[in-house]
């Protein structure tokens, strides 16, 4: 009976952790998507500043996201953020939009595992 109680407690704690993690990852994903979409194209003077701000925020978030998201996806997001910053700095409009599209896709992949759609 003791092991049953312990397993129930663990399952409840785990369930709470899963829900909290799901909410956190979806929240981070959506906030980052909004930030990415708000960055103007490289011809705008604020493009590089906002891209750098996104990079700083992502670096902090990645430390926690790493706990539950596949490292491949996290690394992919990091790479696209860095590409975005580089394109913003050198004014590469084509590269900027490509990096933005790939970044949004990677953010979608990150949130996919926290939704029921990926169960099957």
């Amino acid at each position: 009976m003791k092991s049953f109680v312990i397993s129930i407690v663990l399952a409840v704690l785990m369930g709470g952790g899963i829900v909290a993690n799901g909410l956190y990852i979806n929240n981070v994903g959506k906030k980052t998507e909004v930030m990415v979409e708000q960055i103007p194209e490289p011809t705008h003077p604020d493009c590089y500043t906002q891209a750098e701000a996104l990079e700083q925020i992502w670096k902090k978030q990645a430390k926690i996201v790493h706990i539950s998201v596949n490292h491949t996806i996290v690394d992919r997001i990091g790479e696209q953020v860095e590409t975005l910053v580089a394109c913003a700095e050198c004014g590469d409009v084509y590269g900027f939009y490509t990096a933005r599209a790939l970044l949004l896709d990677a953010l979608g992949d990150m949130q996919r595992l926290e939704n029921f759609g990926a169960v099957l």
């Binding site: 899963i18 790493h66 706990i67 539950s68």
Partner: protein, 230 residues
């Protein structure tokens, strides 16, 4: 994480159904749920070791889920015996009162060669010697011979034999085993006096076993004299 949790649950249920459908022979000595859990745990535990892209949480979540499912299912199956019939197999009687049940043999998908092999492994040369043969739910065979081929018992031979109580370890690794002593309802002082009577010092001994009747078997350290029994 939600995906991994529900995938674990889904795969667990699918595996139980699959192993249950495969039949008793495949699961050996384990219950179906134990077998499935063992299979899955070993695979899950290996994942983050071999693939460094996978965070540890991707192994922890399924393992805790399996732990909960395993413990919960065993508790539920004890409380609801009818549900147990869905998950665990029944023993199948293949030979009853010396008569082979051919439909039972077909239902468990065993050939006559396999059945004869099992009969021989249990020491009988012919199917005629067997009164009952049962395939237990753990996949093992129980062969019960006809009375004329069975080993006579002490009772049948009319021998009055005293039941030999179980021996328990009461001294090992240089110390008294108090749990063993409590099982045989003795104490350390009794053990010390018995060993003195046998002429042993505890430092000379590797292990001592004893039973409720007070019999002692002392095994000395290597390069000492052989075991003494009181």
């Amino acid at each position: 994480m939600i995906t991994i949790f529900f995938r674990t649950l889904l795969i667990y249920l699918i595996l139980i159904a699959t192993v249950r459908l495969m039949g008793k022979r495949q699961i050996g000595e384990l219950e179906v749920t134990d077998f499935v859990t063992t299979l899955m745990l070993s695979e899950i535990a290996a994942l983050p070791i071999t693939d460094t892209n996978i965070p540890i949480s991707h192994a922890l979540i399924p393992m805790i889920t399996l732990l909960f499912l395993e413990v919960a299912s065993s508790v539920v199956l004890i409380r609801l015996p009818k549900l147990k019939t869905l998950v665990s197999a029944h023993p199948t009687i293949i030979i009853r009162d010396g008569t082979l049940d051919q439909s039972a043999l077909r239902s468990i998908r065993i050939s006559m060669e396999e059945l004869m092999g099992e009969i021989r492994q249990q020491g009988y040369s012919s199917i005629d010697q067997v009164n009952d043969a049962i395939l237990e739910k753990n996949g093992k065979f129980t062969i019960l011979p006809k009375s004329q081929f069975s080993t006579p018992t002490v009772q049948q031979l009319g021998i009055h034999d005293q039941q030999d109580p179980l021996m328990h370890v009461v001294y090992s690794d240089g110390k008294c085993n108090f749990s063993g002593l409590s099982i045989i309802e003795k104490d350390a002082d009794w053990l010390k006096s018995e060993l003195e009577r046998l002429g042993y010092a505890t430092t000379d001994l590797f292990c001592v076993t004893a039973n409720r009747s007070g019999e002692i078997c002392a095994i000395p350290m290597q390069n000492q004299k052989g075991a003494k029994r009181s």
